[in-house]
Subunit: 510 residues, 2 copies
């Protein structure tokens, strides 16, 4: 069986990942260090993610705003932990004008140096918190529930497209509440929104849980994440939700008069997901023929490729395809109108077919002269590309039958991809009882070890640091302590031997 990509997952997973991005026209290097160009197919997936997630963010009572790209240095100086966490990797604007450098080029104008340098936002807690301090006076002003879709910049040394880029696109929600309980409930509510979104729309099964202390967002009291299982067994943190307590409110003076007339600090939260999710979609659903996009987030769900031969009959084929496109576009699938494209670009039909397979369009329909004569279409499902004998599974069926079943087929593909992801996640998590077993599980040379699920005593301080050092030596991190645990059975912590209080997932990660 020959595949459409130049490299298979098994041969070199990292090279395969890059080849999917290139062959599916998702993105490319921009020539600007660490920044990518997101091409139409990749950006189309992001637009679908935005639309579907934005609907959910609004349905839970949040409103969108927009805050400045630039943050004055002094804003960062107020929250010490936050600075420590971010100061190492920020782009700093120091000048506001260019002048000729005398060598035929340009340089920053020494006469146009900013009095206070500006940081390009790596995240917006500081600037949004400053706005909250203006907006919140009384308990009546709470809760404040806002969200922003924006670009942010973190000066990463090693970048990888979608997964870790200097500039990336995301949404960041920020809320302020009258009580810690309410803020904690908000933190978990948005984590649940992310879980439902990842599973329903991205067909990506995730584990929701709390991050250990050492993996908390700088300045947070508690950080929760959704963790997804990639096909190489590594974890992808696909979204986070932070309970910030009064840490940021205290640094930014977000105070309100409560019903009894006393001044109190607000409790705040923040939560975000980014274009990183697209990296997750690639590594969960891609195969050796390219990407496979879940129908809910596919820019085009059905692509019609007419098989033209520069013959007089071509016009009849195009007309037939146009009618079919209209019939499909009039359907509703998964709660929305079907997105059907007729691909009339000047290229060979086989090139176009494989182009759409690599892009991962859920259904590709080919129409040739024989199909038109018989009132048929030839249908390829991206999630089941090959027959058992290894040949391409292109099925001829009456056009009417396709139109009648297209919506159900899209729903079936969507749920099938989720089922596959659920199965893969479960199959790649192994419960282990002691440290020796963990070491053996992640020994050098073991391919695709997945994650392990172990008991721990939730150590803190120096004891936690020692644990982190031990797992770091195996290139591992604690992903999270899954929510909904019914309590830990009797065994000891695999690290400390002390009585365990919960189970945590440990694995390699992106």
């Amino acid at each position: 069986m020959k595949h459409a990509l130049p490299v298979t997952r098994e041969a070199d997973f990292a090279a395969w990942y890059q080849s999917v991005i290139a062959e599916a026209d998702l993105a490319e290097e921009s020539g600007v260090r660490g920044c990518m160009v997101i091409r139409p197919w990749g950006y189309g997936i992001w637009e679908r993610i935005q639309r579907l997630l934005d609907d959910r963010i609004k349905a839970t009572g949040h409103e969108n705003c927009y805050f400045p790209l630039f943050i004055p240095l002094s804003y960062f100086e107020k929250e010490a932990e936050h600075v420590d966490g971010f100061a190492k990797e920020m782009a700093v604007v120091t000048h506001h004008r260019l002048v000729p450098d005398g060598k035929g080029g340009l340089m920053p104008d020494p006469a146009a140096k900013l009095e206070e340098p500006l940081v390009v936002r790596p995240t917006s807690e500081t600037v949004i918190g400053t706005a909250f301090s203006r907006w919140v006076q009384s308990w009546r002003d709470l809760p404040v529930l806002i969200n922003q879709w924006a670009n942010v910049v973190r000066w990463e040394m090693r970048t990888r497209m979608f997964l870790r880029t200097a500039e990336f696109l995301w949404q960041e929600g920020h809320t302020a509440h009258a009580s810690a309980e309410e803020a904690r409930a908000e933190t978990l509510k948005m984590l649940e929104v992310y879980r439902e979104f990842a599973e329903t729309c991205l067909a990506m099964h995730v584990v929701t849980g709390e991050k250990p202390e050492n993996e908390r967002f700088p300045g947070a009291v508690a950080t929760y994440s959704i963790e997804a299982m990639m096909q190489d067994g590594k974890a992808l943190q696909a979204g986070t939700s932070h309970f910030l307590g009064t840490n940021f409110a205290s640094a930014q003076n977000i105070r309100f008069q409560n019903a009894s007339g006393e001044l109190e600090l607000a409790n705040t939260t923040s939560w975000g997901v980014s274009t990183r999710m697209i990296g997750g979609v690639i590594m969960v659903h891609g195969d050796d023929d390219g990407l496979c996009v879940p129908p809910r987030i596919a820019p085009w769900q059905v692509v019609i490729v007419p098989m033209l031969r520069d013959q007089p009959e071509d016009q009849a084929i195009v007309d037939y395809c146009r009618d079919l496109q209209k019939e499909l576009a009039a359907l509703s699938a998964l709660g929305e109108p079907v997105r059907a494209l007729l691909d009339l670009k000047p290229a060979k039909a086989a090139t176009k077919r494989w182009g759409w397979v690599k892009k991962g369009a859920p259904i590709v329909i080919e129409v040739g002269g024989r199909d038109v004569a018989g009132g048929n279409v030839s249908v390829i499902r991206r999630d089941r590309l090959y027959r058992e004998d290894g040949k391409l599974d292109s099925r001829v069926m009456p056009r009417g039958a396709l139109v009648d079943t297209a919506a159900a087929l899209l729903a079936e593909i969507q749920s099938g991809l989720l089922a596959r992801s659920t199965e893969a996640l479960r199959a790649q998590i192994v419960p282990l009882d002691n440290w020796a077993a963990v070491e053996a599980h992640f020994a050098e040379g073991v391919t695709n070890p997945g994650w392990v699920d172990v008991r721990w005593s939730r150590p803190t301080g120096a004891e936690l640091e020692a644990v982190v050092e031990r797992i770091k030596a195996l290139k591992l991190t604690i992903r999270n302590a899954p929510l909904g645990q019914t309590g830990c059975d009797d065994g000891p912590c695999v690290f400390t031997g002390a009585p365990a209080v919960e189970r945590v997932l440990i694995g390699r990660a992106y």
Copy 2:
């Protein structure tokens, strides 16, 4: 008649403009020089603009992409005119890390200076052109039709919210074509998209035309604009479309093999509109009670305010309002579901009523106990707030009658606002025949002179410079030469006395 704003248009138009922004909760100063915070109601209007314009941009065959925020200095050095036009006002990133400054604060790390400074994009021709040079090899790759929704930064010295801010949000379309004719046609097609959008969605009548040579985009062969008439008689350039010829293609090496196998330079275009449009909406539709948002771009089209009195009957009022909200949300108006909000925030009904009037919600419905008892509602139309006797025009009508007519009422408000804008534009343009008349028209002390429409000979070079100096002395600019002129009648150019070739509009502008 007492109005909701602290200042009237007549008393001080500039102060009135700021007060609308503050009182309607559209935006506020951020504390970061020249950057604003766009608040939910302002951002909601921008989201509506994005959705409606994006549909049109896609319907004309364009796809969305995303390009880097940062542009290396060297990219700018390639297109000389472009650099001259933008180099004076760009934010420059020179460092990628902060370190303690030894005085308890932070400073850019001298050890983390970038080898090549990065400019925060003021516009993306250079970085997108570089991508085009990779994408375009053959005539088969053309046209390339893409668009980007993004933030851009221009270091303006004097800023004014929405109209001129250091950072602003916009869309920028960029296309490459095989021929100059095709590129020119694209430039005009997108200008027409902007005109239709401004009139249909913003209810803002605009004049489409070509900018004079001195007002062209830096590096463009021709620049076209849509110009709108503000209530103070000033012009607002609300969108531009540029034919770039081969200027950028030459600087960025966008070449293709034509059907005969020869290498040719592509012709490119770019076009954009920004959050500036919201400033236009304010100054076209606002009045002394605040903003008046055209229904198509109103985040909420109908707002229901229950008049509660902390009495047992309150629950019945809320239930009645909930049912009404559902009935309205099930309607379709102007081609979309009606956006109806039930405002249950803890505040007095009169405060809420005036809050929504100031925000400019098209229809505000108040419901009190008497309305519930009679099966009625009290309806306020934002576009006709007062009766002839100067009292608030709140009309009691049966609830069923309101639901039956709400969609038609929204359409009527939308078209009424456009008609008013068309009338205002026409009434404020005066045709004049000679320079003395122009001088008299714009003499000091004349309030609201609007624009004048004059013949000119389309001078170039030094002759044009002289014309620009003359009108600059009167604080005027040439707005554009309207499209669709049927040729100029016999009279001479008001500036040069030479035979005129076309008519141009001249006025003061934002």
